[in-house]
Symmetry: C2
């Protein structure tokens, strides 16, 4: 079967809860509103695309533990195809416990990595990538991401890279990407200075066709060989920013599928990401298309 | 079927992991050696009894969520009977995330309470209590614990109460208990001063037949109308003290089943609890009988 978008990357299960006050060491603190939901940059972007109306498949590797089962359930319930997920038995899937302090909204993340072996070329299905319109990669699984990006390039599939933090894997994908979306953390670590535009220029020089740097509540910048522009963030009361970037990436790809121009695509992605922050959890408040359209229509600020 | 010991109380699922350093708010920290295992004072005491060789059944209430499934699995795998556990669908079972700092061994507990309704008399099986030799209760489910204690008293079943922290439920059980085992926290809160012996005298006056106060690494004291004595703790390198008290309670009941005298019973319980602390998790290192016997034989300190 063909999918609009195929994503390959990490996935995990997030346990999120709020506390009155983040506890000191050696204390006990009650967690309220405990929420269990799937996470991982690419997986959450696929859920976003699915809610907006695109067809998606996720490629990744998990184990057959209870975390793995929850990860699968979280994708199935969102109509993200999971036929290409590889399951390695008897290991542990990735997990994160995210503590959100009610008053400050500050998040503390305790995470535990998966114990599965890295995904290798023999385990992935080339056809599902070749037949997609867009491939999304994170920089977290270097070798297999390069393989997938090369498949996509050869098949004329657009490659979007989500570079969340400075890692070898993300850098190795710059020249294979059509759209390289870096977080401000990545840009700062890559450029060794807090200058997103300069970082974008450098990334473009390395072979990216379009570079976007997301700046959280400060918005984002976009640079291509022809143009440069800034997109402010939408103002929302952010209850929880978990997965905000992931949702931006998914919504950005939705704009690409609609063949909107870059300005419109990034404005749409910003609005979608802003709506996500209304509730606790990376996925709870991911909007459907109509909600994003309403926000965009009612917004006169720019 | 008849069981040596029936336990009624809270049960939960614990996620435990160690960190190099307990993270400040707004930080990300990797958790190592993530361990998922059942917890809860009475449930872990039943597992202890089962490992030592007694037959046990646990009565409690959980939901049909993934936490509930893990709680059940953790008891089944330890041969604790779960036929009398009540499952309320569509709710959340109790959960705790326990972060252990490697160097200091300090534990920070983030816990989330169950959303199931309280267990009521109509939901429990009187026969299984009446036919046991010993009933163990925690003070966490007041009303149903009183009902169960009265069943036990009428049937001549010995009642052991685990009073971990000062709650109405634990106090209401004092006069119904044959053995009232208070933590030092409970004793301090109950007596409004750090004087475990004075607290024990007061508890005896309230109707307990035997009072024990556990003092962690400082050992424990025991008071009956006829005698008073002190039992030092066994020296071990404590990797994790989670569940240490619960294991003490289980092993104490094992001594009662053998009809050992109180000194011997408490020394046995101390040794069992000490061995538990060798590994991360409330249950991982709970010893089998032979291991406790070896520690007791090799110990010449008292």
């Amino acid at each position: 079967m063909n999918y609009d978008v195929v994503g390959l990357g990490q996935c995990c299960i997030d346990y999120l809860g709020s506390v009155d006050q983040y506890p000191d060491i050696d204390e006990k603190e009650e967690v309220n509103n405990l929420t269990v939901q799937g996470g991982g940059p690419v997986a959450t972007a696929m859920v976003t695309l699915s809610r907006l109306g695109a067809s998606t498949a996720f490629i990744g590797k998990i184990s057959d533990d209870s975390f793995g089962d929850l990860i699968k359930d979280g994708l199935i319930s969102e109509h993200v195809n999971i036929d290409y997920i590889v399951i390695e038995k008897g290991k542990r899937s990735q997990f994160a416990f995210i503590v959100i302090e009610k008053e400050t909204g500050k998040r503390t993340v305790l995470w535990s990595s998966a114990t599965v072996t890295p995904l290798v070329a023999e385990e992935i299905n080339r056809d599902v990538i070749d037949s997609a319109k867009v491939l999304l990669l994170d920089g977290l699984m270097k070798d297999i991401s390069i393989v997938a990006a090369e498949y996509a390039r050869d098949a004329g599939v657009k490659v979007v890279v989500d570079a969340g933090s400075m890692r070898e894997g993300a850098l190795a994908l710059v020249h294979l990407s059509d759209y390289f979306i870096a977080s401000d953390d990545f840009a700062r670590q890559f450029f060794h200075a807090d200058d997103p535009k300069a970082a974008a220029i450098e990334l473009l020089a390395l072979g990216a066709k379009t570079v976007i740097v997301t700046l959280g509540e400060k918005g984002s910048i976009c640079l291509t060989p022809e143009r440069y522009f800034y997109q402010p963030a939408f103002k929302v009361k952010a209850v929880d920013t978990t997965g905000c970037g992931d949702v931006f990436h998914g919504a950005f790809i939705f704009g690409l599928l609609q063949k909107w121009d870059l300005n419109e695509t990034i404005r749409f992605a910003s609005a979608t990401a802003a709506l996500k922050c209304r509730e606790i959890g990376g996925r709870t408040a991911i909007p459907v298309l109509k909600e994003v359209e309403e926000l965009l229509e009612n917004d006169n600020s720019f």
